[in-house]
Symmetry: C2
Subunit: 232 residues, 2 copies
């Protein structure tokens, strides 16, 4: 029985972010090339230590780290899971509070900052195929994050955060399809969106293109992080 | 820009457990009366610091802390969420990896250990009504845990962990009802259980009582933590 809880070395406490955006081929993830040991020059998720002298809480730490390492200011973030063990970091017992972050098109940053030497958007499937090459256990974290996003696509408003604030139903359907990796029936999709009722038309706003004008929609305010019965 | 990530004081890294069991009145939670500062003599969730010299990982820390503080050996545990901020612990920036734990009847421990002066099973609703009296932010953690369990009751096999390994369908229905706080229709419940197919009859085992003999069931192995489309 220990008498002093503080006798052992403290755990290293970090936050890592799995930042997704939609590219041409589907989901992409932002990776950073490490500019310092351990795992010097390896690709990694953006992450860093909690700064107990400046971070008010975990969410604030996540936002700060994302801003410093990637230049992204305020995307959608949600806590994913915390991993912690004696072996994931050669410097000592380390825990990482992992966050999933999503951004819409046009927010993809040109990045350089902190101890990150380089950064790049990479297709998720490509990165997962070589997940063991990532620093630390970041391949595992990416796998967990992808599973979370795919599950929540079917049950929540989460995909909306991969779109601009205003979008057509065709664009919304395309997001669901690209995240899930399968096609959806258009009329069934529209019927289901009407039932779950989390988007609303923007009065008078239409998109005009080569087809007939399409109504513009936005996320309903109160539904911004809601969980539903199965959406799809 | 910081040059040394380790310049600030390290975060306090703890694990807290919200341990549920079913009592006569519904869900009960195990509380510990604190035997040390801070919050001396206040009721709290069982918890403790990560011991980086002996805990292989976070789950191991959770099991150790539960064992030391309550005498419970190996219940069902799952990670709930991590809270961390500058204000929850007067000793400094603190994070807690919170776990939900469930145990079946007859495993409720007679407890005394670590810096816990006392322990008691309390009805969840009673504790939540006075959640502000709990140490730290443990009232908030209890609320998060209850929401998780109630949601997973509707989508997963989780309630089974509140039962002995073998049970009748009437006992299973009773667990769902007590966690949800509402009655369920017997024939609809049995139809749904057949559809989601996560329990199986134990060949030849019947329970004989004042009514006609009831078939004994058990959880199917492969389904021990499965998530389903809505169960109820």
């Amino acid at each position: 029985m220990k008498t002093l809880d503080t006798a052992a070395a403290p755990a290293i406490a970090t936050v890592d972010l799995i930042l997704f955006a939609l590219g041409e081929a589907g989901l992409e993830v932002l990776l950073i090339r490490r500019g310092a040991a351990p795992f010097l020059d390896a690709w990694a998720l953006p992450g860093g230590w909690i700064h107990t002298d400046e971070d008010a809480d975990l969410d604030a730490a996540a936002h700060r780290i994302l801003r410093e390492k990637t230049g992204v200011a305020t995307p959608y973030i949600e806590q994913l899971q915390t991993v912690g063990n004696a072996t994931r970091d050669p410097r000592g017992w380390s825990l990482s509070v992992a966050y999933v972050a999503l951004i819409g098109p046009g927010q993809a940053p040109a990045v350089r900052g902190g101890n990150a030497a380089d950064a790049a958007w990479r297709p998720v499937e490509t990165v997962l195929a070589e997940a063991g090459d990532l620093a630390f256990d970041h391949g595992d974290l990416l796998g967990l994050a992808l599973a979370r996003v795919r599950r929540k696509v079917e049950y929540s408003t989460l995909p909306v955060h991969l779109l601009p604030e205003r979008f057509t139903l065709s664009e919304l359907q395309s997001v669901y399809e690209r995240v899930l990796g399968r096609r959806l029936d258009k009329s069934a999709f529209r019927k289901r969106m009407a039932e779950v009722d989390f988007v609303e038309p923007v009065p008078g706003e239409m998109r005009r293109g080569s087809n007939r004008p399409a109504q513009i929609y936005r996320l309903k305010e109160a539904r911004s992080t809601a969980f539903f019965d199965r959406v799809l």
